[in-house]
């Protein structure tokens, strides 16, 4: 039994033209048993900044709360919204503090710069090593499947609607090959002026 696949779950983030998208499955399970189908793994950290926290569910909740705490204090002190790149460093720092007894999550960050609206995505491992890419990042129990789907489906400079389709198909087909992920999905498409949240009807098995 692996700790990272005890609860199951996946997150993908993709880069588009002046937009980003982040999506997660919604299953909460205990090994093979599905307990609920509305457990979101993506949390809003700012009007255009989202973080996905797949992995052990208890750590998903705890890290989301602790990150929000640190972000709130930053916002109060600096009196401005945090940039996504800075947020990545905050996540990295929080995780490395627990280097020898880590949180069992591998986060994904997606957002737009508050001032310039430049899109940004990155992922980190469970002890905080950051990786910034300009195409897509994946994390979770179906990561191998998601890599395959993303490599095939992603293209640069997709508009918001095309990006939504691409990320949805990549996530849904990947989790259909994973016994501990799926049971519906949620997509966030983040543009300069709005965030579109869609819940996807998916296979419930």
């Amino acid at each position: 039994m692996s700790i990272m696949s005890y609860n199951g779950g996946d997150v993908i983030a993709m880069m588009g033209k002046n937009c980003v998208a982040i999506a997660c499955d919604r299953r909460f399970g205990i090994q093979a048993q599905t307990v609920s189908t509305d457990f979101d793994k993506i949390f809003e950290m700012g009007p255009k900044l989202f973080v996905g926290l797949p992995g052990l569910a208890t750590d998903t909740q705890t890290v989301a709360q602790r990150l929000k705490f640190r972000l709130n204090l930053y916002t109060l002190r600096e009196n401005r919204a945090m940039k996504p790149k800075t947020f990545m460093s905050v996540v990295s720092n929080l995780l490395y503090e627990k280097r020898f007894g880590p949180y069992f999550i591998e986060p994904v960050v997606a957002g737009l710069d508050p001032k310039t609206n430049e899109p940004f995505i990155c992922s980190l491992d469970l002890i905080g090593c950051p990786m910034v890419t300009d195409d897509f990042v994946v994390s979770g129990t179906a990561s191998e499947q998601m890599y395959g789907m993303c490599e095939s489906l992603w293209q640069p400079d997709l508009g918001p609607d095309d990006l939504f389709e691409t990320i949805s198909q990549a996530l849904m087909n990947a989790v259909d090959r994973d016994a501990v992920s799926g049971w519906s999905a949620k997509d966030y498409v983040i543009e300069a002026d709005k965030v579109t949240i869609k819940t996807l009807k998916a296979r419930m098995d």
Binding site: S2, S5, G8, G29, Q31, A32, Q33, T34, S36, T37, D38, T141, E144, Q145, D176, R177, D178, A179, V180, W183, S184, R203, M204, D205
Partner: protein, 218 residues
Amino acid sequence: MRTNNMTPEWMDSEVSTGTSIMAVEFDGGVVVGADSRTTTGSYIANRVTDKLTKVADYIYCCRSGSAADTQAVSDIVSYHLDFLQSETQEPPLVRTAAHLFKGMCYQYRDQLSAGIICAGWDKKDGGQVYSIPIGGMCVQQPFAIGGSGSTYIYGYVDSVFKTGMTQEECMKFVTNSLALAMMRDGSSGGVIRLAIITQKGVERKVIVGSDIPRFYEG
């Protein structure tokens, strides 16, 4: 314990038909059903597996547990039944098939991980369902459920089952039960495969996608 973390988890995991299987007897035959998911660890190796295996013209078995073990055992039982048919010049009895399964599963109980439901139709006793769980006991039942997904539907099947159901009612019963099990069990899913075995022969059906019944989805 995984000492090597360079390879993905599924490369060191045994192939298992996690599973939800079921069989119900009615007057004139049986309905057998199964999901279609095979997993190696949490990777779904096959999402359209056929777990309903023919062992004789009118006798099928539903397989759960280790894919290798159940395939090997059902191949051997199928051979024995075929040989018996040549000797007796008659189709084999369902109880014979069930006892052959029992014999193997009991004798090799320490080495096998196989849960089997053997069901079919014969001229002598009509439709019959035999349950051969892990350990190798054999018991005839009006209906049987098995596999990891069956644990989620014991209450449902006990509350819905009634004697004297028609073929259509049995098919609905199996379909609804398996749909509920597939929803809750991570090791079960895919499509619902049915086989209806009567004097007329075997009718195979597959229920896919939006035809699979949906219930409360939390």
